[in-house]
Symmetry: D2
Subunit: 412 residues, 4 copies
C-alpha cells in the first residue's frame, strides 16, 4: 500500500453506529486503518472523537475513500486547500471530481472557508469567482456543467458536518405519556407537532405525493390540510394530478381497486378524458379559473396559491400541460422550490420520494409513509440523515393527521 492520510471524526460515534459504517467503508474500498486515538465520552451525552490513519493502494483510491468517508462526517486532519480543475466539456465533470453529499459542507480556498450554498447528493462542487474576493461554492448537477467552470477535485480542502441525531429527536418530541396514545397514533401526532413547529418557525412544508392518496380516499383530508395552511409545496407526478382531476370531474366510484388500494392506472377512458379536458383548458390553473375544475387536491392548491411541481414519467398518458416532460428540467424546477423547506412528508410514492431525497439537504427532517415496508426502509434509512419511516396506510394516516391539525375537520 502506498497512499495514506489521517482523518478525524467527532460525535456520538458509538451509540449512532456511525463508527461501524466508517470501518465498513474502509474495508469496502480495500483500505486498511489504524485507530491512532480514541477519546470516548464518559457520560451518556458526551461526544467521542476518533483519529484514524487510513491507507489505500494508491492515491486515486485513497481520494475516493476519503470522499466516501466524508458522507459519514469524517474529515482529514490536514485539510489543506481545495484543488480546482476546469470542466472541459459541457455536461461532464473533470476527472477525480469531488462527489457531494447532502450534508453541510465547507470548502477551503486560499485558507478561507466557504459554506456550500445548497448541499445536494451526487453533484460536483462549482467554485464561482475564485479569483475575486467573494468566491461562492455551490453544488452543480452533472448535466448543468458547462465547459470552463471551476470544479473541486479530490477530497482535500473539504469539511463535512454530520447533524447531531438530537435535532431530529427534538423535532419529533418525546413519546407522550397519555394512556390513549400508542405507536401509530403517537406517530401521527408527532408528525402533526413537527408540522406545527415548522410553520411556527416560518419554514415551509414539502409534500411528496403519490396517486395512492386519491385511491385510498385521502383527498378530502389533504384538501383540508391545504386549506389550513399545512401544505406549502407539492412534488408529484402526472398520475396524482390526473387521478385527482378524474375524481373531481367524474366521481370517485370508478377505477378503484379496493383490494390493493391501487387504482387501475390504465385502460380506463375516464383518465384520458380528464387529461384531454385540462389540455384543452390550457393548464390546471386555467381550468380552475374557468370553472371546469371545482374540487380536489389540485383545485385546492391553485385556489390557495400553493406551489406544485409535477414531473412526468415514461408511463404517463397525456400528460397534463403543467407536467415537466423533461425530467432534468423537472429536477431543476424541484431544486428551485427546496429553499426554506423545514419538513418533508413523503406519501405513497417511491419514484418521487427517491428523487426528492436526492436533492434535499440532510438537515431537513423527512417522514416517509407507505404500505410497503421495502419502500419505507429505502427512504427512511438515509445514512446519517433525518429520515423516519411509517409503514401504514396513507388513507387513514392523512385522515388522522387532518383530525389532529384541522380543528373542524369532519366535525362540522
Amino acid at each position: 500500500m502506498g497512499a495514506r492520510e489521517t482523518v478525524e471524526v467527532t460525535g456520538h460515534l458509538m451509540d449512532s453506529g456511525i463508527l461501524s459504517r466508517i470501518l465498513d467503508d474502509i474495508r469496502d474500498y480495500g483500505g486498511d486503518y489504524v485507530i491512532e486515538k480514541f477519546d470516548v465520552g464518559h457520560e451518556t451525552n458526551d461526544p467521542s472523537r476518533a483519529r484514524i490513519s487510513i491507507e489505500a493502494e494508491d492515491d486515486g483510491r485513497l481520494q475516493r475513500l476519503l470522499m466516501r468517508l466524508q458522507t459519514r462526517g469524517v474529515n482529514q486532519v490536514a485539510v489543506g486547500n481545495a484543488v480546482l480543475a476546469h470542466a472541459e466539456l459541457d455536461g461532464v465533470l473533470p476527472d477525480g471530481f469531488y462527489s457531494t453529499t447532502n450534508l453541510e459542507t465547507r470548502v477551503c480556498l486560499d485558507g478561507r472557508w466557504f459554506d456550500v450554498e445548497n448541499p445536494e447528493m451526487d453533484c460536483g462542487l462549482l467554485v464561482a469567482g475564485s479569483d475575486t474576493d467573494d468566491p461562492r461554492v455551490r453544488t452543480i448537477p452533472m448535466s448543468d456543467v458547462r465547459s470552463g467552470m471551476q470544479i473541486v477535485v479530490g477530497a482535500s480542502g473539504i469539511q463535512v458536518s454530520v447533524p447531531a441525531p438530537a435535532s431530529l429527536g427534538e423535532a419529533f418530541g418525546p413519546p407522550s405519556d397519555s394512556p390513549h396514545e400508542r405507536p401509530q397514533t403517537v406517530l401521527v401526532r408527532q408528525v402533526a407537532d413537527a408540522m406545527r413547529q415548522t410553520r411556527a418557525d416560518g419554514k415551509r412544508v414539502l409534500w411528496v405525493a403519490g396517486p395512492g392518496i386519491v385511491h385510498t380516499g385521502a383527498a378530502p383530508a389533504m384538501v383540508a390540510l391545504i386549506g389550513a395552511g399545512f401544505v406549502d409545496v407539492v412534488f408529484a407526478g402526472n398520475a396524482l394530478a390526473t387521478h385527482d382531476i378524474e375524481s373531481a370531474l367524474y366521481g370517485t366510484a370508478l377505477g378503484i381497486d379496493m383490494n390493493t388500494a391501487q387504482g387501475v392506472e390504465h385502460g380506463h377512458e375516464h383518465h384520458v378524458r380528464a387529461l384531454n379536458t385540462i389540455r384543452k383548458a390550457g393548464s390546471i390553473g386555467a381550468a380552475v379559473a374557468d370553472g371546469t375544475l371545482g374540487s380536489g387536491i389540485m383545485h385546492a392548491l391553485v385556489s390557495h396559491e400553493k406551489r406544485y411541481v409535477l414531473v412526468g414519467s415514461v408511463r404517463d398518458d397525456g400528460p397534463l400541460p403543467d407536467v415537466h416532460t423533461d425530467v432534468i428540467e423537472g429536477q431543476r424546477a424541484m431544486r428551485a422550490e427546496i429553499h426554506d423547506i423545514g419538513y418533508c412528508l413523503m406519501l405513497a410514492t417511491q419514484l418521487h420520494s427517491v428523487a426528492t431525497s436526492n436533492i434535499l439537504p440532510a438537515t431537513v427532517p423527512l417522514v416517509c409513509v407507505d404500505l410497503n415496508p421495502v419502500t419505507v426502509t429505502k427512504l427512511a434509512d438515509r445514512g446519517t440523515s433525518h429520515g423516519r419511516g411509517i409503514v401504514t396506510d396513507v388513507g387513514l394516516f392523512l385522515e388522522q393527521l387532518a383530525l389532529e391539525l384541522v380543528p373542524d375537520y369532519r366535525r362540522g
Copy 2:
C-alpha cells in the same frame, strides 16, 4: 369415458363468475361436459339456470368431481338417497367419504331431507340415529371420528346452497354519497354499520386477533370496543395475550419495532416474565381477580365477561395457562363458540384467520384487515363466501372504528 351425471345450478351464474369456475373444475378433474340447457335471465336481476351433463373417466373420479362442484352450488338432478358407510377405525373416515364445504347443505335419507347442523369445510358428514325417526346430520372432523359411526360416502343425496351475493352487499350497504367519505374511511364505516346491525340482530361478533393489535397501539381502541359491547368472542394465540399483558405489566415503550410495526417477539425478557407472572397466578382470570392484571385487552375481556379461545403454536413461549396447547383441542374449543356468530373481524393474523375460516359457515360475513396484501387476498377470497379484504394498518383501522362506534372515544 364411462361415468356420467347430469347436474343443475341456479343463480347469478354469469355476473358472479361462478360458471367459469365450474367449467374450470371440470377441466381440472379431467372431465368433459355438454351444456344441455341454459336459461339466461333477461333482465338485470334475473337468475340464470344451467343444466350440464358431465362425464368422467370412472365413477370414483366422477364422484369426486361432483363433490367438488357442490362447493359451487352445483347439485345433481337425480339426487337419490345419501349412501352411508361405517367408519372402521377411530380418526379415519371411510373410503370415498363426502368431503364437506362450509355452505348450507342438505342430506337426503330415505327420501327425507335433513339440514346439516354445522356446516364446516373439509369434514365428513356424520349421520346419527339413522334408524330412528329423528336422524341428525352434522359435520365431523376427521380426528373426532370413532369406529362404527355412520358417515356419508359419495355425492348422491346431497344438496348444497350457495348464498346469494346480495346478502353480503346488504350487510355492507351501498357506498355513501357524502363528499367526505372515500374508500378507506368508507370501509371503516361499513364495518361499523355491519357490527351495529349484527348486535341489533342479536348475533355475536367474533374477533380473530393477532399481536399486531398491541404493537400498532390499537389496544386502547379494542378495549373501548369491548366496553361498548362490540366484541363477543376473541380467537387468538399466545402472542396477542402475552404481548397485551406484557404491555399492561411493563409499559409499551419496550419491544416495539416501529419500522415494521411488528414487535420483537423473542429475546426480550419482559414477555417471559409476563408469562411467568400469569402462570403463577394460575390463569388470566385469576390475575385480574387478584389485581395483578389491571388493564389491557385481556383484562377488558375478563372484566366484561366476554369469551376468548387462545390456541397455542409451536413458536410459543410459556405459554399462558389459558392457552390450549393441543391444537385439535383448541379447534374444538373454537367450534364450541361458533354458534350465533353474525359477523367476523380478522385482524393481523394469518394463522388464526385461516383456522377460523376453516370452521366458519360461509354465511357469516367476514372482513380481513392486514397490511400484507397476500394475507388479505388469501382470506377474503373464499370462493363463494362472504369475505371482504382491507389492506390497511390495523392500528389506524381500529382507531377509526372506535371513533365510529364508541361515542366518547378520545373525546373525553
Copy 3:
C-alpha cells in the same frame, strides 16, 4: 333512461369470465341491460354468442359505455360509419373522442373497413387521407395531435376483436409430464420455449429490464442470452444501464444490499463516476468503441448491434448521454421499436413495464417476473390480453433461463 343500443359478443364467454366483466362494466356506468339472446356452446370447446340490449341515461354516457365495452370485444350490432371530427388545438383530442384499446380494431369509413395500424391503449384514432381512395387509420397519442387532424369520435363504426385465449396457451405449450419438472422450473422452460418459437417465427424478443438484474447478479446470464440471440430490443431506464456500467468499470462487490436484493441507488460515488465517464466518451457506443467499456449488458448490446431505448426518470443522476430525458420523446422512441415484437419479457421494473404495457398490442404475449406479487398482479392481469406473471427472483430466473437456452452456459 333514454339512450339505447344493441351489442353482440362472441367467444368463450363463460369459461373466460368475460361476461361477468361486461355486466360489471354496465353497472359501473349506471346502465341497464336485457340479454336478448344467448347461444351457449354445448360442447366443451364451442364458443357462445350473446346479444345484449343496453340502456344508459343519455347518449354521452352510452357512447362512453360502448367504448368501454369494446375493450371486452363487445361490438354494436348496427355498426354504421365512424364519425370524424377535426382537432381544434395541438395536443388536444376533439370532445367525445374514441379512446382506444390495445386490441385489434377496425374502423368503418363510408362502408369500408380499415384495420387500425398500431393498436395502443388510451390513444385517439387518426384518420389520414379520408378524402382519398386509400385512407389509413392509426392510433395517435394525445400529445402528438395537431390542429386539423381528423379524429374518430363516439363508438359507432368501430369493431374490436378480443384474441382467443387459446393462442396464449399454445405459445406457452402444455405443462410437461417430466417428473423433474414442476411449477417454477416448468415456467422457466415455457418461457424458453416461447422465446425459441418467437425466433423461429422471425419475430423479435423485447426485454423490459430493471436494475434488479444487475443487483441480483443476473448480468452474466443476460449477456449470454444476448450473445445467443434471444434479446432483440431492451427498454430500460438510466438505472439499469448505469449500474451495469458501474459494475463493469468498478466491479460488483460495492453498492449491493444482499438483504433486499436492491442496490443502494444513491449516495455512492461509483455510479456518478461511471456516469461521468460515459458522458465524457459521448455515448455508450463510443465508450465501447474506445475500449472504455469492455463488459456487461450494455457492452453486449452494443457489440451485438442490438437495439435499446433508455428513458429517464425524475430520480436519475447524470443521466447517461443515451437516455431520453424527455419522457414523451422516450415513448416515441419506444413506439418506433414495437414493430415485429413477438414476445415480451418484463423483469424487475414496474415503471418501465407499465410504460411498455401501455403501448404494446394485446396480441403480444408477455411475461412479468418480479419478487413483488403486487407488481406481478398489476402487469400480468391486463384484462383480456396475453399476460402471465411469475412471482420469483429475477436473478435465479435468468440463471435458469440461460441454462435452458444457451448450450454451453456455465458448462465451459
Copy 4:
C-alpha cells in the same frame, strides 16, 4: 438512582455495531452509564474492550438490565456466585429468574464455572446436583419446571460469550472471483459449501421447511438432496407433509396458485383424502412400508431413514398421525433433535422458523430463504447470532442448490 454495577465487554465492539445496541438497551431500561475505560484495537483486526459503570433506579431493574446486556455478551466485572431459588410451583419459575439467551453461557457455583449444556432463548437455568461434586446446569423451559427444582435468579455468577463474527464469515467463505458468479448464485454456492463443510465436520444439517417447497415445485430437488445425504433432520408442520403426500398420491397439477406461489390450502378435497389415507395406514412410515406412498419428500425421508419432527398448528386439517398436536410436546421433540446440528436451512415458513430459532444455539449458522423480505429480516437478524437471509424464490433456490450438490441432478 440507586443500584449500580460495573460491566465489561470485549470484541469487535465498533465494527459490529454491538456497542450501539448496548447503549440503546441501557437507555431503554431507563438506566444511565459512564464509560470508565475503553481500549480500542489499533489495528484492523484487534478487538476492543470496554468497561462501563451502569446505574439503574433500583436493584430489580438493574438485575433485569444486566440480564438484558448479557444477550450482548456484556458481563459483570465482579461476577460472584450464582444465586439459586427453589421453584414453588410446577410450570412456574421463581421470581427474578435469570432469563436465558441462546449464547454460550457459564454459571459460577461456589467459585467453580459450569457450562450451560444446551443454550436456548427465554428459558430458566436449572441447576441439578448443586449439593454434589458434579453439579450440572441446563436451560429449562417454563413449562418443564417442577416444584422444588433449583433455578438461577438474578444476573450474578453468570457469563455469556458472544461468538466472533469471523466464524460465520469463514463458514460462508469469501466471495468468489469467478466472473460468472454474482450475488444470488454466489449465495447458493456459499450455502452449498457450508453444507459440504458441515457434513465433512460430522455435523448434521437441519431443514426447517414450509409447504412452499411443494408449491414451487422444489420437491424433486429436495428429494435429490435427501438422497445425496444433505438433509439430516426436517422440522415442519402438517401442511408440508400433507401437500407433499397429496402431490405424490394425486399429482401436482391441482391446487396450485401460480400467481402467489402459494397452494390453495383449503377447500380442496385432495388434501383431506391424502390425510385420511395416511391416517388409515397408521403413519407415514407405514404408508411407505405398505406401498401406499411411493414418492415425494416424506417418502424420501422415510426411505433414507432421516429424522423429522412435524408439529401441528391450529389451522391444520387431519392432521397426519405423525404430527404432534400438542405444541409443547412438539417443542420437546424438536429439542431432542437439536444435538450436533452444524447448519440450519429455513425455507419458506415463518412459523416453524421462529420456533426453531427460539431453541437453536446462537453458534449454529442458519440461513433463511423466503420471498417475503419481512420474514427474512425477522429471522436473519437474530442480534449477535449467525443468521443470514436470502430474499428469493425457494423453488429456484433449491433447484440451484441441487445442481450444486448432487452430481447427476437433471443431467441423467
